[in-house]
C-alpha cells in the first residue's frame, strides 16, 4: 500500500502520542455482528449408528436431532444417501447463532457404497452454486449463506486403518469443504490402541494427500493462542464420545457421560476423550476461521473453476473503475467512429463505381465520335465524288450558247420540230 502523503516509499509507522480511539473499531464490529447474528452450517457424515445425532446434541447442548425412531424389521432400508437438514436458533450471552446441521443418513449402509460420496458432493456444490448466483444478482442486499462450513467425518474405531470408503470420501471432498475427521465411539479403544490408531490414520491421510482442517498459528497470535493451537493440533484426529444423558459418579456428582458396569466415562473429561478439544476448536476458537476458509479459499476456488469451465476469460479490463458518464461518452465515440468508418467505406465504393461508369461512358462516347467522324468522312467523300460527277456531267452537256438557251425554249420546236 503506497501512501500518497508524499513519502518516497511505503507507509511509515507513526507512533501515537495520545489516545485517538480507533482501537475501538473491533468493538464496533463486535457490536454490529452481535446485532446481525451469525450462522454456521455443519455437515455430519458417517454410517448409521455411529453417533452423529448424539454428538451434535452434545456439542450444542440442545436436542437438534430427535431420537431415532424404531423402524420395524420390514421397513425398507434407505437406498443410497439422503440429505436432510435441521436448523436451530440458539443463543448464548446475547449472541445469536443460526445453526444448521446437515445429516446424511444412508451413507455407508448399503452393500455397494461405491458412489456414496456423490450425492454429498452434489449437495455441497449446489450450495456453492446458489451462493454464486446470489452474488451475481443485481440486487445483492439480501444474500443467504448456506454453504457448508465444516464436515465432521465419523471414522469407525476399528483400530486398524482408514477403510476404503473413508479414503474415497475424503479424497473426493477435501478440496471442497473443511474436513474434520473424528474417531467415533472412542470408548471402544484403550489409550494405547487410540494412540496407535491416530498415528495410523494421520499416516494414511498424508499418504493419500488428503487436506484436513488444522489450526495454524500466525505471527499475530499471542503466546496463549499459539499454545492452544498446538495442543489442539496434537489431538487431531479427535477421539470423541457423546452423551445426552447424565450419570451419577460414585461421589454423588452428576456428569454427562456413559455408565458401564466397569466404570463411568465422562464426556467432558479431557482424560477420557477429546470432546472438549473438538468443541473448543469448532465453536470457541476456530469457528470464524472455518467460515473464512469456506468463503475465501474453498468458495473462491470453486467459483474460479466453475467460471473458467464455463468459458469466461479473465478480462483485466473490468478492473478499471466503472463511471457511467464516461462509459456513455466512450460508447458514443465508438459508435461515431464506427459510423464514420462505414460512411468512408461507402463513399469510396460509390466513387469507385462512378469512376467506372464515367470511364465506360467516355469510352462509348469516343467510339461514337469516332464512328461519327468516320461516317462524315465517308459522306464527304461521297459528296465530293458526286460533285465531281456532276461537274463532269455538266461539262459534257455545255456546248449550247446563251441564245440557244433562250431560243431553246422557243426553238425547241423549230430545230427539233423539223425532224
Amino acid at each position: 500500500m503506497k501512501s500518497t502523503s508524499g513519502n518516497a516509499g511505503g507507509a511509515q509507522k507513526k507512533k501515537m502520542h495520545g489516545y485517538v480511539g480507533f482501537s475501538n473499531y473491533p468493538n464496533q464490529i463486535h457490536r454490529r455482528s452481535v446485532k446481525n447474528g451469525f450462522n454456521f452450517t455443519l455437515m455430519v457424515v458417517g454410517e448409521s449408528g455411529i453417533g452423529k445425532s448424539t454428538l451434535i446434541n452434545t456439542l450444542f447442548d440442545s436436542k437438534i436431532f430427535s431420537d431415532r425412531e424404531e423402524l420395524p424389521p420390514n421397513a425398507d432400508p434407505i437406498k443410497g444417501v439422503d440429505i436432510t437438514s435441521m436448523s436451530a436458533d440458539i443463543q448464548e450471552n446475547g449472541v445469536k447463532l443460526r445453526l444448521t446441521v446437515v445429516d446424511t443418513p444412508g451413507f455407508g449402509d448399503s452393500i455397494n457404497n461405491e458412489d456414496a460420496w456423490q450425492p454429498i458432493l452434489e449437495n455441497i456444490e449446489s450450495r456453492f452454486d446458489a451462493y454464486l448466483a446470489q452474488e451475481n444478482r443485481v440486487n445483492r442486499s439480501k444474500i443467504s449463506d448456506n454453504r457448508i462450513d465444516a464436515v465432521i467425518y465419523f471414522v469407525k474405531p476399528t483400530g486398524h486403518c482408514l477403510r476404503a470408503i473413508d479414503i474415497e470420501f475424503m479424497k473426493r471432498l477435501h478440496t471442497k469443504v473443511n474436513l474434520v475427521p473424528i474417531v467415533a465411539k472412542a470408548d471402544t479403544l484403550t489409550a494405547k490402541e487410540l494412540e496407535q490408531f491416530k498415528t495410523k490414520l494421520l499416516a494414511d491421510i498424508n499418504y493419500h494427500g488428503i487436506q484436513i482442517f488444522k489450526p495454524v498459528s500466525d505471527e499475530f497470535d499471542d503466546a496463549e493462542t499459539v499454545a492452544d493451537n498446538r495442543s489442539i493440533l496434537s489431538k487431531i484426529p479427535f477421539a470423541v464420545i457423546g452423551s445426552e444423558k447424565f450419570v451419577e459418579r460414585p461421589d454423588g456428582t452428576s456428569v454427562r457421560g456413559r455408565s458401564y458396569p466397569w466404570g463411568i466415562i465422562e464426556v467432558e473429561s479431557e482424560e477420557h476423550n477429546d470432546f472438549m478439544k473438538l468443541r473448543q476448536m469448532l465453536l470457541r476458537t476456530h469457528m470464524e476461521e472455518l467460515k473464512d476458509s469456506t468463503d475465501i479459499v474453498l468458495y473462491e476456488n470453486y467459483r474460479t473453476q466453475k467460471l473458467l469451465s464455463m468459458g469466461h476469460v479473465q478480462d483485466n479490463g473490468v478492473f478499471r473503475e466503472y463511471n457511467p458518464v464516461v462509459q456513455i461518452e466512450e460508447d458514443r465515440r465508438a459508435h461515431e467512429a464506427k459510423m464514420n468508418k462505414m460512411e468512408g467505406e461507402m463513399t469510396a465504393v460509390f466513387q469507385q463505381k462512378v469512376q467506372e461508369k464515367e470511364s465506360k461512358l467516355k469510352q462509348s462516347e469516343e467510339e461514337l465520335y469516332a464512328r461519327h467522324k468516320e461516317m462524315k468522312t465517308v459522306l464527304e467523300k461521297q459528296r465530293s465524288e458526286l460533285d465531281e460527277k456532276k461537274r463532269r456531267a455538266e461539262a459534257t452537256v455545255r456546248p449550247t450558247t446563251p441564245m440557244e438557251q433562250q431560243t431553246t425554249k422557243g426553238k425547241k420546236k423549230n430545230i427539233f420540230s423539223g425532224f
Binding site: 454410517e47 424389521p73 432400508p77 449402509d109 452393500i111 458401564y260 466404570g263 466415562i265
Partner: protein
C-alpha cells in the same frame, strides 16, 4: 419305538456303554472347526488370538482332562471391507462347501479311511456391528446364505462400546429382525429335545447375539491377573459375566453344545450337501448317457470328479 422299555431287574451292565463311548472319544479326540466372519477391526482375531491374511485355517491342539480337541479357526480377512461389497460372501461360502465336498469325496472312495479327518466347518461366528440400528443389508444377505450351509452363531464384538441398556435394546432388535428374515440360528429347536435341553436352548437363545469383549492382554487388578482391557475409566474383565457374555459363549460352544455342533453339522448341513451333490451327479450321468446314446461319442469321463461338481452350486450362492 414299538417295543416297551422294561427296567431290567438284575444289573446287566450295558449302561456302561456311555463310558465306553467316552473312552472312544478320549482316544480319538475331537475336531472342532470354527470360521469367523466379519469386517476388519471387529475384533475377530483378538477373540481367538491368532492372525491370518487369507482364508486359511489355523490349528491348535487343546487338551483338558485327557480330552483332546483339535481346534481349527478360520478367519476371513477383507470381508466386507470394500466400498462395493457385492459378492463378498462368495469365498466364504465356497470354503465351507469345499470342506463338505472334501469329506464327501473321501466318504465315497471305495477304500476309505476308517476315521475320516473332519475339516467341515462346525460353527460360524458372525460378527455384528455394534451401534447399528439392527441388521445391515449386508448382514441380512450373508446370514441368509451362511445359515444354509453351517451353524451360525451371531456375536457382537467390541461390545464394550455399548451400555447395558443399549445392549439389551440392540439384542432385542436383532432378534426381531432375524425372526422377520427367517434366519435359522443354532441351536435349532427340535421336537425330540428333552425338557432340560429345551430350557438350556431357550436360555441360550435369550443371550443371542453374544456380546463379547476380547483381549490379548493380561492385566493386573487388585493383585489378581485377569484377561481384560484397561480404560481410563475402568477395567473390563472379559470373564466377568456382567461385563461380557464371553463366558457364556465359551460354555455354550465348548462345554455344553460341542457335540451338538459337530453332530448337527454332520447330520443336517452335510447330509443336505451330500443329497444335492449326489443328485447332481446322477443327473449329469444321465445327461451324459443320453448324449452317448444319441451322439455315439463316449463321455470323456465316466466318473465325474467332485471338483467339477462343486462349481455348480455356486450359481445358487
Amino acid at each position: 419305538m414299538s417295543a416297551p422299555a422294561n427296567d431290567v431287574q438284575d444289573y446287566v451292565g450295558f449302561d456302561t456303554i456311555t463310558q465306553q463311548m467316552e473312552r472312544k472319544f478320549l482316544k480319538r479326540g475331537f475336531n472342532l472347526n470354527v470360521i469367523l466372519v466379519g469386517e476388519s477391526g471387529m475384533g475377530k482375531s483378538t477373540l481367538v488370538i491368532r492372525k491370518t491374511t487369507e482364508i486359511a485355517p489355523v490349528t491348535q491342539m487343546l487338551e483338558e482332562n485327557g480330552v483332546r480337541v483339535k481346534l481349527t479357526i478360520v478367519d476371513t480377512p477383507g470381508f466386507g471391507d470394500q466400498c462395493n461389497n457385492e459378492g463378498c460372501w462368495v469365498p466364504v461360502i465356497k470354503y465351507i462347501k469345499d470342506q463338505h465336498a472334501a469329506y464327501l469325496e473321501r466318504e465315497l472312495k471305495p477304500n476309505r479311511e476308517r476315521i475320516i479327518v473332519d475339516t467341515r466347518v462346525h460353527a460360524c461366528l458372525y460378527f455384528l456391528n455394534p451401534g447399528s440400528r439392527g441388521l445391515r443389508p449386508l448382514d441380512v444377505e450373508v446370514l441368509k446364505r451362511l445359515t444354509e450351509v453351517t451353524n451360525v452363531i451371531p456375536v457382537i464384538a467390541k461390545s464394550d462400546s455399548m451400555t447395558i441398556e443399549e445392549r439389551t435394546a440392540f439384542k432385542r432388535h436383532i432378534k426381531e429382525e432375524l425372526a422377520f428374515h427367517r434366519i435359522m440360528l443354532f441351536p435349532y429347536a427340535s421336537d425330540d429335545d428333552a425338557d432340560d435341553d429345551r430350557v438350556l436352548n431357550a436360555s441360550i437363545r435369550e443371550l443371542i447375539p453374544f456380546a463379547v469383549v476380547g483381549s490379548e492382554e493380561v492385566i493386573e487388578v487388585e493383585g489378581k491377573l485377569i484377561r481384560g482391557r484397561r480404560h481410563g475409566w475402568g477395567v473390563i474383565n472379559i470373564f466377568d459375566e456382567t461385563h461380557s457374555d464371553f463366558v457364556h459363549l465359551r460354555n455354550f460352544m465348548l462345554r455344553t453344545h460341542l457335540s451338538d455342533l459337530i453332530e448337527v453339522t454332520s447330520q443336517r448341513h452335510y447330509e443336505q450337501f451330500r443329497t444335492s451333490q449326489l443328485r447332481q451327479i446322477k443327473e449329469l450321468r444321465a445327461q451324459q448317457a443320453a448324449a452317448a446314446a444319441s451322439g455315439g461319442a463316449p463321455p470323456a469321463q465316466p466318473q465325474v470328479p467332485l471338483s467339477v461338481m462343486q462349481h455348480q452350486p455356486m450359481t445358487q450362492v
